[in-house]
Subunit: 209 residues, 2 copies
């Protein structure tokens, strides 16, 4: 497999899933500003919208959309699966993937992370996000994970929550989310993936300066 | 099954899927402004965020999130399935459900349909949406459906495209999307579901006046 990613983008969730499941993959970095690949070619010749993650499967298929890739990877044969077997539990994971993708990632965090978004857009995103963040915060107050076991949805939520480090949303206002992120960071594979991408992110920033 | 819906909201996609698959269901209308149920009770006592669709399965489980509900319904035993059997084709449907949910529904149309969204927010949504709409438009220029067969993703896209009737996005700028919507409207179950919800929507508006 080949995962096209940008450091600390939502593609981090797939890296985490691959590490947790001990699945081999090649990671290809996409410069998040210039949309170029390490060899200088334009990533948009591969993915017209320039979005990450983008996964080339072992069968050569190209898959896009974070929540879809996470469902795919979570179900791959591995010792540790990150998608439950029981149909209803699977639906719950789909539900969380969709909620995180639409309500948190796209409606709340994307505008806050966009340096070109006007102030009014950022304010609107923060107002929209409050009830959504409270909803997940409340859900996680007495739970270890979003569902009964660790799944790809937890990896996605973790990737999103890291963005609070660069936005006006403060995790201390959401103790359930803050403690969840800390718990996930105690997992060696989450910490390894996060640590590696922090370094790559800093290198990208340094190169840009 | 019981489907909580608001007329012409994205819950329309699930109604279409149920009709196409000939699955019995009870439809419970949620007033999209007041968030009340037909008996006057507050819908938020059931779904804290007041979002539709919300599905009560025959087993009594409550499922939320449009793309997750569509995956669930599409796989129910029925003569006509709206989810493909082949794993790769399924992933492609997941991919489109995610794309429609994040890039079109949440990032583009939601702010345009929100009467309280500031002008700058609506402008930002239109700018963001253009490349995304072009992407699906291009994909549908030489295809009948988003994937090889009709699936729940087509029902979701159809539901979203109806919103162009109430937003500054003009379908004539996207012939692939316009023709797709017309093709879907030729299907009796799409037309029935859409026609019913147009009437319910107009009744809701009339009641509000």
């Amino acid at each position: 497999m080949e995962l096209y990613f940008s450091p600390l983008a939502c593609s981090l969730a797939t890296r985490i899933a691959l590490y947790e499941m001990d699945l081999p993959a090649r990671f290809v970095q996409v410069d998040s500003k210039t949309k170029t690949l390490p060899d200088g070619t334009d990533y948009r010749s591969l993915h017209p919208l320039g979005l990450v993650p983008f996964l080339r499967t072992d069968g050569g298929e190209l898959l896009s959309e974070n929540a879809a890739i996470l469902q795919y990877v979570g179900e791959l044969p591995a010792k540790t699966k990150l998608m439950p077997e029981r149909p209803l539990e699977r639906i719950r994971v789909h539900q969380w993937l969709c909620f995180i993708g639409t309500e948190l990632h796209r409606s709340t965090f994307s505008p806050l992370l966009d340096p070109d978004a006007p102030e009014a857009v950022k304010r609107y995103a923060i107002e929209h996000g409050r009830s959504r963040l409270e909803h997940v915060d409340h859900h996680l107050r007495d739970r270890k994970h979003l569902t009964d076991e660790l799944t790809v949805a937890d990896a996605y939520l973790f990737a999103i929550l890291n963005w609070t480090l660069a936005t006006p949303i403060k995790l201390d206002d959401y103790p359930g989310l803050r403690d969840f992120r800390n718990r996930m960071l105690e997992r060696p594979m989450f910490a390894k993936a996060f640590g590696e991408e922090v370094q790559l992110y800093q290198a990208e920033l340094a190169k840009r300066r």
